[in-house]
Symmetry: C2
Subunit: 324 residues, 2 copies
Amino acid sequence: MKKLEDLQELISKAVTKLSFPLHPAELYEPLTYILSIGGKRMRPALLLMACDLFGGDVDEALAPALAIEVFHNFTLMHDDIMDNAPLRRGRTTVHEKWNQNVAILSGDVMLIEGYKLMMQVKDRLLRPILDIFNNTAVGVCEGQQIDMEFEQRTDVAINEYIKMIRLKTAVVLGGALKIGALIGGAEIKDAELLCNFGEHLGIAFQLQDDILDVYGDPEKFGKQVGGDIISNKKTYLLIKAFELADDKIASDLRALINKKDFDNEEKVKAVTDIYNELDIRQYAETEVHQYADKAFKALDEINLPEDHKQYLRDFADGLMVREN
Amino acid sequence: MKKLEDLQELISKAVTKLSFPLHPAELYEPLTYILSIGGKRMRPALLLMACDLFGGDVDEALAPALAIEVFHNFTLMHDDIMDNAPLRRGRTTVHEKWNQNVAILSGDVMLIEGYKLMMQVKDRLLRPILDIFNNTAVGVCEGQQIDMEFEQRTDVAINEYIKMIRLKTAVVLGGALKIGALIGGAEIKDAELLCNFGEHLGIAFQLQDDILDVYGDPEKFGKQVGGDIISNKKTYLLIKAFELADDKIASDLRALINKKDFDNEEKVKAVTDIYNELDIRQYAETEVHQYADKAFKALDEINLPEDHKQYLRDFADGLMVREN
């Protein structure tokens, strides 16, 4: 089995070789630009990994893997407009570097380029793979819409939150694995089990991310600790806290959220104290384990040699144990 | 052969029956809304017409025809944001009725829904039809980008203008005809000739539209006469006028364009006088006829019974002779 890092490296190199038309320059330059910003290339690497695990030729899965990366970056380009984000990974976002119209239209053509890359599969797999891609793409749009609606709402329930992160984050992981498995020669049943593995793992990963934002080791966790608290982001922790809080605590929490003038450190400490009082971290970790368990159960059922399954278990463990 | 009006009617009915998911409502309601605004449904009707002309079953072409209409409306939804347009056919645009983020994201999901509909073809045709659809979609994005760039430029040449209207308007007509022909059972060579017919006719039609804006009978022409002049739109007429003008006339024309405070009627008359002085109408009509001739030449070569070709000639004549 190929190492995940090697597959990520393979994708990174292939991304730099992706070429788009030269004209109109303002339409295509943003595609090359946003793809150059980088990232871990996890989604396309998972697609290659799935292909490899089922004994397929990784080269045959390269164009579809790039399709997933191009699609992912299309969503980033449009999400950055919607979120009014000036920076992505420290680099100027497309709508800031060019303008908003460029970011809309370049994003559109990027989605189409994603389809063109995804179509570079054998005829036999064209329809099933495009069906998966369509469902994945629709899911991501639905997830983004639900996420935007959450910003205006104060009554988000845990199950709604899980649905949102499943759509916005997890379905792409599941879809990438499923497509890779099919290219590798997997039976549809096994491809679907691998998809379930990916989706559940994706949810567990996102919940873990919510925990790490508050309880992560600042040395190891790449982001500012408490960033979600400072920006009042509706995470699992905040939603669960409101679910469990009595009137007094709920009103304290609401006051902290609505306060316009605050010291970041004090706010993070005050909200974390409430989380601690309500044992939120434990609830969240229980939920993480439940989704990880679901992922591992799906994995157990896949018809693959034991060492291949162990590879996936090790991958999942590596993904989840990021710091504590 | 089925009448074009009947095919347009068939599409109009099918559009009202298109159903999208109910949730998230803000994501999908704009799709139904913009599709309900209507229009002549010319693009999807042409797809059905092409299928019918080659002896195919129109029902089999219905989903791909709807795909073309859904795709077209996706481009309208995003173009309206880029153009900052408050109204479309007298109805509030999506970004005005909801907000800009909704219009971006609903447009994105609409493009994906277009692909889903376009995939409802026989396996044998899936790849060739999606290839045509991809090329069409990319062309429209390129055309829109070039059109936006024209707004900032003062040196647009006639051949650039023709390229822009070909991409922005004509390739969809050609693509729709080509897809319909293939579904109807046409040989690829004949489908391509029909595509050429559609593209050239589309260019001729757009040039005709530029002429009618200035010289059309206000009773018969649906828009305000001189609208392009009032808004300084770079049409064939304006570009040609700058090409032919001597220094004195060019400077007069530039003064009219740059004037901030003007009476609409006076401006239209002054610019039209310049067009008349330079015989711009004749140049434009010559160009219209050249593209119409190219369309008819492609048509002549198609392997279809003579009465079918006559049907297409009558259709083209009906399209071009709209008022004068």
